[in-house]
């Protein structure tokens, strides 16, 4: 393995982890708002506050890890993506601020449970994937021009592109699906029958759109970026595996059993699809301008970053284990029997 491959794999793995944990967070916010809207709030709010409040800062660090890491390993991405993403990334930052402040002001703080705030928080959960996912479309090439050596984004081409919109729809559907499957498991563990049934229904509703749009994107790519399409097809078996895992999750949820296993299968489904997609994108970070090779940092920095990463993991994994043991796997905490908040 070359240093470039190690670097991009580490980043891709953390991006994947962010996609999963953030989807749970974003989707839960939306379901919470939706249930407030349809006057079923009491069913979900407790569960959401118990699980999400202690961990959202950790979720956010996964995101920070990704954008700091990519500048570290591939500094040239700062030049291409930094220049062009000013507007979409700033919008994403504002939306992240809405979420962060909701936790700060509404759940930790004075408990401002104004309805408008709950709706804003819920909607930001859908708008964030919509604001972040166009980066994937941009990376397929065709939306960025170089003018006098400076990159700029062709907004018109981007906003009229079916590829961009399918990716946006997929990201929203996937967020709701991932979140619903996780919450089904969590609500079931909490022994909350009513909540389980509610989120189980959401999981089944969003399974279909997720798989349909995901397949749709592969076909969009055929026209947009034939080179990428060809390498996707070379990895067809990974997508097939991903599809089988998807069927497994839906089957279990449908049959109302093994919700924990259902969630694990779902993680497997997204893991295989995400890595197959990433591998087929190789070696490009941005078609056709930037590959992982020509944007890579110097060797001494790469080695230093990898050493720091390994040392960091040594610190991180035990701490994460502790966090999950206390808040995800602790029966009394999950059931809301013990409240030790400061």
């Amino acid at each position: 393995m070359t240093l470039e491959i190690i670097g991009i794999s580490v980043l891709w793995l953390f991006l994947f982890l962010y996609v999963i944990v953030a989807s749970i967070d974003f989707g839960a916010g939306f379901f919470n708002a939706y249930s407030a809207f349809s006057d079923k709030q009491h069913i979900l709010t407790g569960i959401i506050q118990r699980y999400l409040s202690p961990v959202w800062e950790v979720t956010n660090v996964f995101f920070v890890f990704f954008f700091v890491g990519i500048i570290g390993f591939f500094p040239q991405t700062a030049f291409y993506y930094g220049t062009t993403l000013l507007v979409p990334a700033s919008i994403a930052l504002i939306l992240l601020a809405v979420r962060g402040s909701y936790y700060a002001f509404a759940t930790y703080g004075a408990k401002i449970n104004h309805r408008g705030y709950i709706y804003m928080y819920g909607l930001s959960g859908l708008m964030l994937p919509a604001a972040l996912s166009p980066v994937l479309a941009i990376s397929e090439g065709g939306f960025m021009r170089l003018e006098g050596g400076q990159p700029s984004l062709d907004y018109w081409a981007l906003f009229t592109s079916p590829l961009m919109w399918s990716i946006v729809v997929l990201s929203i559907a996937a967020v709701l699906y991932i979140s619903a499957v996780f919450l089904t498991w969590y609500a079931w563990k909490a022994g909350d029958e009513k909540a389980t049934q509610l989120v189980r229904k959401y999981a089944l509703v969003w399974a279909g759109p997720t798989i349909v749009t995901a397949t749709g994107i592969i076909f969009e790519l055929r026209g947009h970026n034939p080179e990428h399409y060809a390498s996707l097809l070379d990895l067809w078996w990974m997508f097939a595996l991903s599809f089988l895992l998807f069927l497994g999750t839906v089957f279990l949820i449908w049959k109302k059993r093994n919700y924990g296993l259902a969630f694990i299968l779902l993680v497997g489904q997204f893991f295989t699809a995400f890595f197959a997609y990433g591998a087929s994108h190789y070696p490009y970070l941005l078609y056709p301008h930037l590959t992982i090779y020509d944007s890579f940092t110097n060797e001494s920095m790469a080695i230093a970053l990898i050493i720091a990463f390994i040392a960091g993991l040594g610190l991180l994994l035990p701490s994460l284990y502790l966090l999950f043991r206390l808040f995800l796997f602790d029966k009394d905490y999950v059931k809301g029997k013990s409240d030790y908040h400061a």
Partner: protein, 442 residues
């Protein structure tokens, strides 16, 4: 777009630094209070720690939001700079992320496990990684900033960066004074902010011993860290004289190189002559070299276009004056409280105490503006000008408006939520509740 990028960077950083300072300093204060509480078996200190922790979560959350903004904005607004700097100084930025992880994880655990352990010392231990993580993240980011002021650890060959040494870049000459000064000012400011709150409660009629204990504890800590800050600040001046003489000269309106230089406080500049200023003979030479005969390099020795804006003089004076005042003030308080002087319980004295938190925060702002504006026109001193580092995107103006709105809302939200939270649950009520619970158990 350099001007707009500078405005937005300045805005985001100035806002973030308020929360970051609290984020670095307050965990240590909570730790000290909780430790004193456990040692003395004094319920008041434990409750103090607990109430500070509750407020702290809120400031941390806003700190995380604004920190994420500045982290992303560095690449959005300064893509050319980050592309170059990423090759050399990415290591501490990357390590900082692990410090964030560490802090965020243990903060989550700490907050949600009050009273969960039989042995309170176990819960106390959970705070140690929070304080360490917060301090480490400020150390790493300050290392990055030091590199911008005194870059090293690479060579430039035909426009390419070669011979990069990440470790050498991390330990630039600016690091020791900068890191130490940033840490001690964060502790000092947090202590003053908490002292302000206690003094304010006392002024508002609550005469509870709880607030008096809080005030005395925080003022003692404030005194310790103010003195440390002033000493380290003196070393910072010596660092500047050696490595960034143009910044020191601009701060002091010192035009002609010479020994026995005087320190100029405030005043206005007419040509090269400071008017209406307070002049302290020899003091600049002493600040720069420790002896009156020290030779201080003047602005006339630098090319015209590499001189920082001269108004940083006022920023430097503001910081130093406030530093001196706060050290003196906390000294008077501590001695007074210890010897039982009555002035320290007077109303006007209490109001001065209330003022000290905001003043310390103002000194932090003045200090950062001073270093950052004083580095101009460079973004990477000697290698890259600020204008070369900026984005070419034309939409920064709009983003300035958007983020300004966001910070106003977050700022007001913080104040409203914090004051509401404490008002709804005053100490007296909480103490009474805890008494009755305890009574019930026995």
């Amino acid at each position: 777009m350099a001007l707009q990028s500078r405005i937005l960077t300045l805005m985001t950083l100035s806002f973030h630094i308020i929360y970051a300072t609290i984020g670095v300093g307050v965990p240590l204060m909570i730790m000290i209070a909780q430790w004193v509480g456990i040692r003395k078996n004094d319920e008041h200190y434990i409750l103090l720690a607990r109430r500070w922790a509750r407020g702290f979560v809120i400031t941390v959350a806003v700190g995380v939001v604004t920190g994420t903004a500045i982290g992303l904005q560095l690449s959005l607004l300064w893509p050319n700079f980050m592309q170059m700097a990423g090759n050399v100084i990415a290591l501490p930025l990357f390590m900082e992320v692990f410090a964030f992880f560490f802090e965020a994880i243990f903060l989550g655990i700490y907050l949600y496990t009050w009273d969960r352990f039989e042995d309170q010392r176990k819960h106390f231990l959970l705070l140690v990684p929070v304080a360490l993580g917060a301090a480490a993240s400020s150390v790493f980011i300050t290392i990055v900033n030091s590199f911008m002021n005194a870059p090293q650890g690479f060579d430039v060959l035909n426009g390419e960066l070669v011979n990069v040494s990440p470790l050498l870049a991390m330990f630039s000459p600016a690091v020791p004074t900068k890191v130490a000064h940033v840490l001690s000012t964060a502790f000092m400011t947090s202590a003053f902010v908490l002292a302000s709150i206690a003094a304010f409660r006392l002024l508002r009629g609550s005469n509870h011993i709880y607030h008096k204990k809080a005030l005395f504890l925080t003022m003692k800590l404030a005194l310790i860290f103010s003195v440390a800050t002033a000493i380290i600040g003196d070393f910072s001046g010596k660092y500047l004289a050696e490595y960034q003489p143009e910044k020191l000269a601009a701060a002091e309106w010192h035009f002609e190189t010479g020994s026995e230089a005087e320190l100029v406080l405030f005043g206005v500049l007419e040509g090269e002559e400071p008017k209406y200023a307070i002049r302290i003979p020899y003091a600049l030479s002493i600040l720069a070299h420790g002896v009156p005969s020290g030779e201080v390099i003047g602005l006339n020795d630098f090319p015209e276009d590499e001189i920082p804006p001269l108004w940083i003089h006022y920023l430097f004076d503001t910081m130093v004056t406030l530093g001196m005042w706060l050290a003196f003030f906390s000294f008077v308080y501590v001695i007074g409280a210890w010897r039982g002087w009555s002035i320290v319980t007077r109303k006007w004295f209490r109001w001065l105490t209330v003022l000290s938190g905001p003043l310390a925060m103002l000194a932090i702002q003045a200090g950062w503006w001073f270093t950052e504006v004083g580095r101009q026109p460079w973004i990477l001193r000697g290698y890259m000008k600020t204008s070369e580092g900026a984005t070419t995107s034309g939409q920064v103006d709009l983003m300035i408006v958007m983020f300004a709105g966001l910070y106003v809302i977050l700022g007001i939200g913080t104040v409203v939520v914090l004051s509401r939270m404490y008002k709804r649950n005053p100490v007296e009520k909480e103490l009474a509740q805890r008494e009755s619970v305890k009574g019930g158990e026995e």
